[in-house]
Amino acid sequence: MVQGTDRARYTVLPLLSLTGILVLWEICGRMGFLNPLFFPVPSRIIASGISMLLDGEMQENLSVTLFRVFAGFLLGTIPGILLGLFMGASERTRLLLDPVVAALYPIPKLAIFPLLMIIFGIGETSRIAAVAIGCFFLVLINSMAGVRNISRVYFEVAENYGASQWQLLTRIILPASLPLIFTGIRLALGTSLIVVVGVEFVSANYGIGAMIWNSWETFEIEKLYVGIFLCALLGLLFTVVLKKAEERITPWFGHQVFPDQE
């Protein structure tokens, strides 16, 4: 495979699918296959987005949401990784805590959000807590799977070479489960967006969720799509950044497996 072609495919293919969908959407809309009341064409949505950008509405909402996402993400992910690694490595802890995780994970954050407000008070704390909880379990479960996926021989080597529990964690368990931790992080970042929007739906003046809610209220359907597009865009951005980080940090992961791809 020629190098030029390779580089081209790494940038062209991903763009192709996205623009393809947008173009198709625009065409279907223009040809009248889509009800413009609910499915406005991308060009109109973009126009609406630009005007929101110009009057600062977008930046304001975006920055508020991003703050909540990152704060909640960090607060949920870091303990989630640590506990997940620990539960993956120690069967006793896993037996003890697995049922608790299994019971708490499917509790809908939205249902207990009022309770979170009571516990953490209103305002940012409870919103960030909801995001953190959402991230926590996803990362935990994936990190746990990551540890359990590690080949036993690595643990034997570490033990034989006298690794302390801490060294075992930082030099073996953590790096070896990084590929799956990344999967967890990827899911968690996406989920943190979902949760933050849900929470902003029910209680917030600013943020992308509040913006989407207000668009429903005022039936400014383009703004709603701008909000959804922002979610999609952020998701995309997160993924690209994560993928770059992943390639750099875990280069041994993710072989190409089909013959056409070498």
Binding site: N160, G162, I172, T250
Partner: protein
């Protein structure tokens, strides 16, 4: 350092489905002895080494270490499945044992580099293991055990996947180090010549369940080299071991026409 194994039994599994991997293994090594272990595949050699290393608990029996230990680790093992960490580069893999003992970075790199040179991988120090061939990875594992300077070296078919000349070089190197420091070495191999060339004694095992068939004294003077292979005594010992093993194989495959001439 001396080692004593007393009545070691090992069962895998539980209850009625348990299978016996080792049956009352008893032996001891002398101070600074080189003990070769040979036996058919599946006879429990790896299991025995792991029990000696403390990585597996024996179902019955005891392992006792005696002698004074000058600060270096009690034992270091070269694993049959090498266990080179894909998330560390070559030199970090080799320096792993030193790192676990908090040897300063500079010093551990210097020591590791020395052994990397000995196994012919000096120029690969900063490469990632997944870019190396299988044999090169096994050499990393060997260097890692050596640089750790343990009181007892446990080697599970360490030269199994090396090419002929690297193998001879490392046999030689192993004998050099050994005669310098007179460590106790337990060396599992499937090569009869290698077992005789290296060992003070050769422990011949049989399988299902793993038992000691015989422990043969090897009286060649040291330093030894390949020339002893053409002596009468060498060939006698070789035939003797071969006969034990062949009887064993006859039993396990059912005694059909698989004799290999000698």
């Amino acid at each position: 350092m001396k080692l004593e194994c007393r009545n070691i039994c090992k069962l895998y599994g539980e209850g009625t489905t348990a299978s016996r991997a080792l049956d009352t293994i008893s032996f001891e090594t002398g101070e600074g002895e080189f003990l070769s272990v040979i036996g058919p595949s599946g006879c429990g050699k790896s299991t025995l080494l792991k029990i000696i290393a403390g990585l597996l608990p024996p179902t019955e029996g005891t392992v006792t270490y005696t002698g004074d230990n000058p600060g270096t680790p009690l034992n270091s093992m070269v694993f049959q499945e090498h266990g080179v960490f894909p998330w560390m580069n070559v030199i970090d893999n080799v320096a792993f044992g030193l790192e676990m003992r908090h040897v300063p970075r500079k010093e551990r790199y210097a020591q590791s580099m020395e052994f990397l040179k000995k196994v012919g991988l000096a120029s690969y120090a900063t490469r990632n293991p997944h870019e190396l061939s299988v044999g090169m990875r096994q050499r990393i594992a060997i260097a890692r055990a050596f640089v750790n300077n343990p009181a007892i070296l446990l080697m599970d078919e360490p030269f199994g996947s090396l090419d002929a000349q690297t193998r001879l070089i490392l046999q030689d190197e192993l004998l050099n180090i050994w005669s310098e420091h007179r460590k106790t070495v337990i060396f599992v191999t499937h090569d009869i010549d290698e077992a005789i060339l290296l060992g003070d004694r050769v422990m011949v095992m049989s399988g299902s369940p793993g038992k000691i068939q015989e422990i043969i004294d090897i009286d060649f003077q040291r330093p030894r080299d390949l020339r002893i292979e053409s002596t009468r005594e060498f060939i006698d010992i070789r035939i003797r071991i071969w006969n034990i093993l062949r009887a064993e194989v006859g039993r396990s495959i059912g005694g059909d026409n698989h004799g290999a001439g000698n």
